[in-house]
Symmetry: C2
Subunit: 303 residues, 2 copies
Amino acid sequence: MSLLIVGTLAFDDIETPAGRAENEIGGSAAYAAVAASFATPVRVVAIVGEDFPSDTLAALEQRGVDLTGVTRGKGPSFRWAGRYHENLNLRDTLDTQLNVLTQFQPKLPDAYRDTDIVFLANIDPELQLSVLDQLRRPRLVACDTMNFWLANARPALLRVLERVDVLIVNDEEARELAQVHNVVKAASAILRLGPKRVLVKRGEYGVLAFEPGSMFAMPAYPLEEVFDPTGAGDTFAGGFLGHLASAGDANAPAALRRAIAHGSVLASLVVERFGLRRLWELRPADIEERRQAFLRLTDFHTV
Amino acid sequence: MSLLIVGTLAFDDIETPAGRAENEIGGSAAYAAVAASFATPVRVVAIVGEDFPSDTLAALEQRGVDLTGVTRGKGPSFRWAGRYHENLNLRDTLDTQLNVLTQFQPKLPDAYRDTDIVFLANIDPELQLSVLDQLRRPRLVACDTMNFWLANARPALLRVLERVDVLIVNDEEARELAQVHNVVKAASAILRLGPKRVLVKRGEYGVLAFEPGSMFAMPAYPLEEVFDPTGAGDTFAGGFLGHLASAGDANAPAALRRAIAHGSVLASLVVERFGLRRLWELRPADIEERRQAFLRLTDFHTV
């Protein structure tokens, strides 16, 4: 099945306890697209600035990422700077420069309108709605969001939620959206807002997946060295949806669990180097090795 | 195999977001013994004060808990008061009254000295050492500790660690013991101090188990209502060791994983009511039901 990702292509300046990196290629669509590309062809809708490197775009195309939907705006690309605490689940945003993102009006090339699986990464919910309006009959739509939109664009976000199948958020976002602390209660409340499933990302603690009457918990792979958690959530989402797109039935519970495992595998790999570096160099054998390690990590079912 | 638990029998005053309870029966040995009693007979070494209810001791004996090693000291029982935050992984100790605990000199009845599996719950490491000195040839010794001993009795604690097989601590304790933030690195450092295995309790995020060359992750069961996390760690330890005691080979990796699952099941149940109340009333069918729910929660191996 086809997969469309709508999000950002950006530059990141990152500080972590392991070091710092400037002008890393980043953005939700970059992480999600590269992660998904291991399992399925990907289409991207995003905007880049005049400074975004053409060879990065070429490298994406070489991985099977269709960039027909990427436009180049006037001025510099979206840029984010952040610093992670020793507890890598916590970070401070040092700077956000929207730049070309203020010009972003997602316009789906006609061929994209029939996409089966769609990921609306974290952007203005009004833009997410405009993408939904351009889709014909997607089989599965997933979306992400962030606290900024929860606080400043809740009505539009609620209209998005009525129309998506899977919400992918972190635990703080789930709590803020549902306005309740307990994550099980928060997920139940979110399921009443529209999504059929909620995936709650918990950083080093893994992922919880909720649907009516069923829960699934996937621990994160414990790593001795996390260089950079940036993009781990989008990598998870891209890996998850890429795997679903390659599965026969994207709505089968077993496919969902395997897809969550696949997303978790990729997220555990991306954090091993700064930015996208680990994903770019990744070979299928690396993914399979980590997948086997995940199976060993969590298995008390077949022992 | 036989199981010996050395720890505290106490009264707790507890405040949680769900309510408050006073004079709850508590203490590490109480939680661990009741939890273990579902799988195996248990021996306890502890001290109680003049105020500790005889009917509680009788109820323990009715569950197959041998209290020959419990002495009654002069004055009131050990008492702890604490308040949990909305984030139930965090709590403040409001009051600690050692009372009879200052008289505690664990003396093993002669029949106890041949116990196969021993749990040294969180007490002064000097007392843990004195128990070790009284044991003949235990097959497996597990111990717990807390930040207070890490800060104030590190040399004695290190001597304990040289002599135990399994250390069971929470993530903060693991970090403080190893003096490194990353939990994988912390576990590696602890394994070099003596224990063959380290179990790291992470509250609502579950448990990580480390041994040289192998990791195991068990998520906690996500609950809609956690009434009281008090004793969850000791319940986990008691359930874990009780299951090991009932297994053929307590050192087989598969037995270890199933025992961790059993401990997690009991810990997920004990927090559903205040203090020990849920454990007292628990039927085998409740345990089996939650065990099945755990299998469904975590299974992507057989789907």
